[in-house]
Structures are given as structure tokens and as C-alpha cells.
């Protein structure tokens, strides 16, 4: 531990009612990639916010380069050479790439006796910085708002390096990236490591840890569990460290009796992302809908749910033709939709668990349009028990819950509506391993025991393969493949997703 560039010892951090970190420790060596993992709510974010000066620890020491330090705000941590790249990127969309990189420290020149920004020097240095990262396809004069997420992230990295950062903190950097952007990010991270930059890498994806990191530290419930050298550990070991128990079966799938057709979609059309789509889902069946990002999976779900009403085509539910032109009609017909964007579409985050779970069934918890708080509370308490939501009670604001628990609230909202069809769009994205297994178990049980028809959209092929009775594949708004559970393999699905022109390489990247 003597060669550590940054070291944290015995860190405690309290928030009202919660001990977020308890005697936590962490260290980074020069030129290493150190992964920080743990379930949501394990204290990862709190720890990096302490390193970057957003929070101050209640107890404990921080040593940087052999000196004790205390950061009272992000600026101090910044000037000590620590830069953070957050999930929500902190860029100015209306400004150019160069302006963003040099925000706050633009090169100056004297013109007519006034100090002004030296635009040429700024563009030159920006180009040089990007070239240094082997990025040569980015126009430094382009507006950041016009860039895709991957390029915006590269701008953030360049910005951090323009400040001579020695330690770079990356908080779930691949969460919103496409596969090719991920590859490019990895090569940048490796390049920086060779140059002696230390990288703290937070991720939910264990395969990234194994691909990229030198060491990995696990936190659980605010406590330090351990640090392992990556070559000496295994995925199973890390998972058991994270959840404190071994998960034997990550994808528990119960055998279910497949019943009658619940949903039948006939030639649904809402261009550009839903073109002539026909398929069916039966009672007790989990149908997986696979496809690349932008292939039209969510849009098709939203056509069925009435967010994007079909321009032509028919929806049949339980043998009857139904007309769905808005979500409220879909809900009345017994369709539930757990959307992809939990915080924006799934929950009203400022409201309580109680108010969220009753949101789709307000009619049934009210009498003559007066809401019964008692009925609501009973409903919420039932959900908390049934889905083991970790919360202080039904009146907790959902924003304060971890991602997995928030997702459980969304699911409970739809279960309360007693649907016959439940559409789940990326049901386990961004939630931790433990909650993920719980959601999978719940899906299995709902299909097998309650005969619920489930349409599951997922970008994770292992999830699709393990959970689905039948797999549909979409590409460019069309259904391009259908596979039975027994016959499907990752290769077949990936191949269908990519289309005929796909190379063996890119298939591997999707898997």
C-alpha cells in the first residue's frame, strides 16, 4: 500500500437517518485502473463524491501522494488533479467542443490592450488534446449538443486531461454507450493507463471489470468488503462479495403452462420504427423481444400501450379487437407497461411509494373520487412485502430509493392494476445483481403461477435467452426473426439483430 497515489482510510459518512459509509477504505496506484463495484446503495457514489470533494467525510483520512489532504469543495479536488466524469455529463450543449474543453481556463491573448480569448490557440490545443487520445474524427468547432453520447464523453475526458488530471473517476461510463463507443472508450482508458493516469472505474458490468481493471474493490451496505487483483478473482467470487451470499441461479426460470393467446398484434404500423409488426403473446408465456438500440422494440411496445398510437393495424386482447389510442385505454384493457426510462417514464420520483403504487389504479382505491389513504397504504405495504422493497415505509419518497427498489415500485404499480399483459422494457437495466435476480424470480412466478403474459424487451442476450419462452428479434422497425427457447443461441439472435451483413466480430461485440 505504500505506492498508493491516493489513499482513503477509515472513512465514515452519515446522512440524516443513514450511515452511508462505515470505516471504508480505498486506494489507487499510479497508472492503474481500479474498479469500484457494489450493489446500488452500497456507497460507491458517496465514496467518489468524497474523493471529488462534493462531500466531506465525518471521520477518516485522505492521503494524496503521501500528504494528508482535505477537500472542502470540488474545486480543491480539481486543482489537486482529480477529475470526475459523471453519468450525467456536465457539458454545455450550445458551446463548441473546444470551448467545452477549455471552459474556465481558456488560453488568453492581448488584443488592442484587452485580454481576450485566443480562439486559434484554443482550437489548436483542443485538436492536439484529442489527437493525443487517438481521437481524430471530432471537429473541435462542432457544437457539443450535436454530438452523440460517446463523443460527448470523449470531450469530457479531454476536458479532464486539459486540467492535467492524474486521477480520473469514471462513474458508469458505459451505461449509455453503444458497443462501438464502448470499444473506443476502453482503448482510451488503456492509453491513459499507459501514460500513468490512475483511473477509478465504477461499473455494474462485471465483464468490463475483467476486461479493463487491474484491481477491484467491493463495497456492500457502506462497508469495505475487500480488494482483489483482477487476475486472481472470478465473477462468482465478486458477486458473492457484492451481495453477501452466493446466487446459485441468476436467471431462475420456472416451467409454465402456456395458455390462450392474450395479445395478438396484427400488422401494427407506426413508421419509422414500427413497420408491419405481427406477433402474439400467450398467457403464462414470457416473450423476449431482442434487437439493437434503435431497432424499434420500445416503439412497438409504445404502439401497443397507446403512447404512439398505431397508424394502421389491429390489437386483439383475449380474443377481442380493441382500439388503443392513449395509455389510459391500454390500462383499462389490462395492459401494464414498465418503461425503459424508470426515472422519467416509470415513476413520479418526487412522490411517495404509496402515491406511485396507486397511480394506475386510483379508481379502485377511491370512493366517489375521494382517495382512501388507508387503502393506498395497504396496497403499498403489500407491495413492499411482496416484492421486498427496501424502504422506511409507504410514505418514503421514491427518489430516495436505490435503482432496484425504484424498479420494484414501478412493477408493483402495474401488478396492482392486475393486468393480463405486462410489457417490461429493459426490466433490469442499471440495477444491481441482487435486485436483478429478484425481478427475474418475480417475472417467472407471475408467468408460471398467475398466468400473466409478459413481453420482455432486453438488450442483454443472456437475459433474453434465459427468461424467454420464445424470442422475437427486431431490426429497423421490422420483426426479422422468431426463435423457440430450445433452439435459440446467442449467435443466432445476434445474427438476426445485426442483419445479413454482420461480421463475426460485431456479433461477438453484442454478446
Amino acid at each position: 500500500m505504500t505506492d498508493a497515489l491516493l489513499e482513503l482510510r477509515g472513512i465514515d459518512k452519515h446522512f440524516p437517518g443513514v450511515l452511508a459509509l462505515k470505516d471504508a477504505q480505498f486506494d489507487v496506484r499510479r497508472g492503474e485502473v481500479h474498479a469500484l463495484i457494489g450493489e446500488n446503495g452500497a456507497g460507491k457514489s458517496t465514496l467518489i463524491k468524497i474523493i471529488s470533494g462534493v462531500y466531506q467525510p465525518d471521520k477518516g483520512e485522505i492521503w494524496l501522494d503521501g500528504e494528508p489532504v482535505a477537500f472542502s469543495n470540488p474545486r480543491e479536488s480539481h486543482s489537486a488533479g482529480i477529475a470526475t466524469i459523471y453519468q450525467e455529463l456536465g457539458l454545455y450543449p450550445e458551446l463548441s467542443v473546444a470551448e467545452n474543453i477549455f471552459m474556465g481556463h481558456a488560453p488568453k491573448t492581448k488584443r488592442f490592450g484587452f485580454e481576450t480569448i485566443d480562439w486559434e490557440a484554443m482550437e489548436r490545443s483542443a485538436t492536439a488534446l484529442l489527437a493525443d487520445l487517438n481521437i481524430d474524427n471530432l471537429d473541435v468547432g462542432a457544437k457539443v449538443g450535436a454530438l452523440n453520447v460517446g463523443n460527448r464523453q470523449r470531450v469530457e475526458i479531454a476536458k479532464a486531461l486539459s486540467l492535467d488530471a492524474q486521477i480520473l473517476i469514471m462513474d458508469e461510463p458505459t451505461a449509455a454507450l453503444t458497443e462501438s463507443d464502448v470499444e473506443q472508450l476502453f482503448s482510451i482508458v488503456r492509453l491513459l493507463r499507459e501514460r500513468g493516469v490512475s483511473i477509478i472505474y465504477i461499473s455494474h458490468r462485471l465483464n468490463e471489470v475483467f476486461e479493463l481493471a487491474d484491481r477491484v474493490t467491493v463495497l456492500r451496505d457502506g462497508e469495505y468488503i475487500g480488494t482483489q487483483a483482477v487476475p486472481e478473482t472470478s465473477e462468482a467470487e465478486l458477486i458473492s462479495m457484492m451481495v453477501g451470499r452466493t446466487i446459485e441461479n441468476l436467471f431462475p426460470k420456472q416451467a409454465a403452462t402456456i395458455g390462450d393467446v392474450v395479445l395478438e398484434a396484427r400488422n401494427l404500423h407506426h413508421p419509422p420504427l414500427t413497420r408491419d409488426v405481427s406477433f402474439s403473446v400467450r398467457a403464462g408465456e414470457i416473450v423476449g423481444l431482442a434487437g439493437l438500440v434503435g431497432s424499434g422494440r420500445s416503439e412497438t411496445a409504445q404502439v401497443i400501450f397507446g403512447v404512439l398510437p398505431a397508424e394502421s393495424g389491429e390489437i386483439w386482447l383475449n380474443g377481442a379487437y380493441v382500439k388503443i389510442t392513449r395509455p389510459s385505454e391500454a390500462v383499462n384493457h389490462g395492459i401494464g407497461y414498465v418503461p425503459e426510462d424508470r426515472g422519467h417514464q416509470g415513476l413520479i420520483r418526487e412522490m411517495t411509494i404509496r402515491e406511485n403504487t396507486s397511480m394506475a389504479v386510483l379508481e379502485s382505491v377511491s370512493k366517489r373520487s375521494f382517495i382512501s389513504r388507508a387503502k393506498e397504504r395497504a396496497l403499498a405495504n403489500g407491495a413492499i412485502r411482496q416484492l421486498s422493497i427496501r424502504a422506511t415505509g409507504p410514505d418514503q419518497i421514491t427518489n430516495k430509493l436505490s435503482g432496484g427498489n425504484q424498479q420494484k415500485v414501478v412493477v408493483s404499480k402495474w401488478l396492482a392494476s392486475k393486468p393480463s399483459l405486462l410489457i417490461m422494457d429493459e426490466p433490469t437495466r442499471g440495477i444491481d445483481v441482487g435486485a436483478k435476480a429478484e425481478i427475474h424470480r418475480l417475472m417467472s412466478r407471475l408467468a408460471a403461477e398467475d398466468g400473466l403474459a409478459i413481453l420482455m424487451i432486453s438488450s442483454e442476450l443472456p437475459e433474453i435467452l434465459a427468461m424467454s419462452d420464445r424470442i422475437l428479434v427486431m431490426r429497423e422497425g421490422r420483426l426479422v426473426g422468431e426463435f423457440k427457447r430450445e433452439e435459440a443461441t446467442q449467435e443466432m439472435i445476434a445474427h438476426a439483430m445485426m442483419g445479413a451483413s454482420a461480421t463475426a466480430n460485431s456479433v461477438g461485440a453484442v454478446v
Partner: protein, 330 residues
């Protein structure tokens, strides 16, 4: 963050009281009491039953419009056209009665229907065409006022029969008639907002409109309703206005939207939507009205009065923010 396991228990009476006192409305109420006590020490004309009832008469119009305005601001919208709708209603009432020869009862109904339709038109454009509420109602602020002026041709209607003044100038059991109306409306619509599905939907829409839509709430129908409701309440306020001042002019209600919005925001409704309550709004209405009146009675000039009211507004909002932040931390 890990949630602490703690047994829920019923709060004691003193805890409930404490909770009430440091609530948004509680803080405002204390500021109001302090202002009243202060003004009462300055002049003996202020804290009299007659004066307070008289002030109740004056605040009815702002108060009635502030109810739907609270609903609208909770959804994250705004209605700037309420003053113009008030004026339009007054003119339609006077014009249909005096120029078209409608019976006065029918003229009143026609006026109120016009105002309601004006609000409905606002809502229709906001919901169907997707015009932002600020832009739409800014446009109709001008449009409805223009209509009123066009219809009235700068003539004012007067000479109403005696019974017509009952609402604006009369009393019922010693209390101004329109104050009864305000009290009843406040009680009903406070309960509607706090306890019914409609109220819940409004808060949901204000916090996250997409989330509300994705939960199957009929967002558009709710929005259409509240803008129509706003038109209706502005129209009722227009009728009261005419009845109170005995005449109809096309500039009636000019600028009242700012008084209404000030009261709503002072009452703790967030201009960004999602939070707010009718009791808060009403305390805001009362506080502003009593300050105006009390300062005039203590001999403060009218321009200085505006300055003092502005300062009290800022002070109240600062104190409230401070206390709410402390409360969230603890």
C-alpha cells in the same frame, strides 16, 4: 443509500403541532399574524370588524381566481389571461343586457359562459396544439382584452337594478355576500385538491407529466379542465366585480393576474409545479390584501406601500425556503 428499518408509530399531538407550524402554510400564517399585530399597533382603524369585512369584500375576486391558478401552477402551467377574461365577462354581461336587451339573468349567464369558453379555448390550444401555457395565455391576455374593448366601444353600462348589487355590495348574516362565496369555494376546492383523484393527478402531472401519462392518467383531459375552470372562476369574479362597482368597463381586471400569481406563489406553490395547496394560496391572498390596506391606513403613501409589499413577499419566501431546507435536512 440504505434505508433504516424503523417501526412506524403514530405522531404525538405536540409533534403534529410542530409539524404544522414549520409547514409552508404554518410559516406564512405566522408571518401574517405578525403583520396584522404590527399594523394594529400603528392605527386603530385597521383591526376593526368593519374594516376586516370590507377587506374580505375586496379579496373575493383575487381569491376566487387564485383557486384555479393554484391548480394550474401545480401542473407546471400558468394562466396570464385571467384579468382579460374577467374584463371580457363584464363587457359581455353589460353589452348583452344594455345593447341586445337580454334579461339581466340571461346576460349574467351569457357573460359567465363567455368567460368559461375563453378558458376552454386556452386549454384546447395548450393541449391539442401544444402551445406552451405562458405563450398561449399571453396571447389571449391581449386577444380577450381586445375583444372586450371592441365590443364595448368605450361605452360603459350602468343603471343595473337593485337586486344585481346583492352579490357585490350586499351582506348575508352580517358578512359580505361574495366572501361567503369565496369561503365555500375555498373549502370545496381545497378538499378536491388534497383528497380526490383530480388533485392527485394534478400533482403527478406537475412533477412528471410523462410519468403521469405513462401511468395511464388522462393528462390532456385534466389540463383542459383546469384551464376551463380558470375561465369560469375568472368569469364569476367578473360578475362580482361589476356588481361591486355598479358599472361595466372594458379595462376591468387589468393586472389582476399578477396579484393572483403573487398570492399563489407566496402561498408556497412552486412556479415549477408539483407542490402547493389551497390553504397556502388563501393565506397569501389575505396577507397581501391586509398589508395593502393596513399600510394605507397607517398613512404610508401608495408607492411606498408597493415597495413594502414587495419586500414582505421576498422576506416571506426567504424565511420559508430557509425553514423548508432545515426541515429537509433533519
Amino acid at each position: 443509500m440504505q434505508a433504516e428499518k424503523s417501526k412506524p408509530r403514530n405522531p404525538t399531538v405536540s409533534e403534529k403541532l410542530r409539524h404544522l407550524l414549520i409547514s409552508q402554510e404554518g410559516v406564512l400564517f405566522i408571518i401574517m399574524l405578525a403583520s396584522v399585530l404590527f399594523l394594529a399597533t400603528r392605527t386603530d382603524k385597521f383591526l376593526t370588524v368593519d374594516n376586516l369585512l370590507q377587506q374580505g369584500r375586496f379579496m373575493a375576486e383575487v381569491g376566487l381566481i387564485a383557486i384555479p391558478m393554484t391548480y394550474i401552477i401545480i401542473t407546471g402551467g400558468i394562466d396570464l389571461s385571467v384579468g382579460s377574461i374577467l374584463g371580457l365577462t363584464a363587457i359581455v354581461l353589460g353589452w348583452t343586457w344594455q345593447e341586445l336587451g337580454f334579461p339581466l339573468e340571461l346576460a349574467i349567464i351569457t357573460g359567465i359562459i363567455s368567460g368559461t369558453v375563453a378558458g376552454f379555448v386556452n386549454g384546447l390550444f395548450i393541449v391539442r396544439v401544444g402551445v406552451p401555457p405562458l405563450i398561449m395565455t399571453l396571447a389571449t391576455l391581449a386577444l380577450y382584452r381586445g375583444l372586450a374593448e371592441g365590443i364595448s366601444q368605450a361605452r360603459s353600462a350602468r343603471g343595473y337594478p337593485e337586486w344585481f348589487f346583492q352579490l357585490g355590495q350586499g351582506e348575508l348574516l352580517g358578512i359580505p355576500t361574495q366572501l361567503w362565496l369565496l369561503i365555500i369555494a375555498v373549502v370545496i376546492f381545497a378538499i378536491v385538491l388534497a383528497r380526490t383523484r383530480l388533485g392527485r393527478a394534478l400533482y403527478a402531472i406537475g412533477n412528471n407529466e410523462t410519468g403521469a401519462r405513462f401511468s395511464g392518467l388522462t393528462v390532456n383531459r385534466h389540463l383542459l379542465f383546469i384551464y376551463t375552470f380558470s375561465g369560469f372562476m375568472s368569469a364569476v369574479a367578473g360578475y362580482i366585480f361589476v356588481s361591486r362597482v355598479s358599472t361595466t368597463r372594458s379595462d376591468m381586471g387589468t393586472g389582476i393576474e399578477l396579484d393572483v400569481i403573487a398570492a399563489v406563489v407566496l402561498g408556497g406553490t412552486s412556479i415549477f409545479g408539483g407542490t402547493g395547496s389551497i390553504p397556502g394560496t388563501i393565506i397569501g391572498v389575505v396577507l397581501i390584501q391586509l398589508l395593502k390596506n393596513g399600510l394605507v391606513l397607517t398613512g404610508v403613501t401608495s408607492d411606498a406601500t408597493i415597495v413594502v409589499i414587495g419586500s414582505v413577499l421576498i422576506f416571506a419566501i426567504l424565511v420559508n425556503n430557509f425553514i423548508q431546507r432545515k426541515r429537509d435536512e433533519s
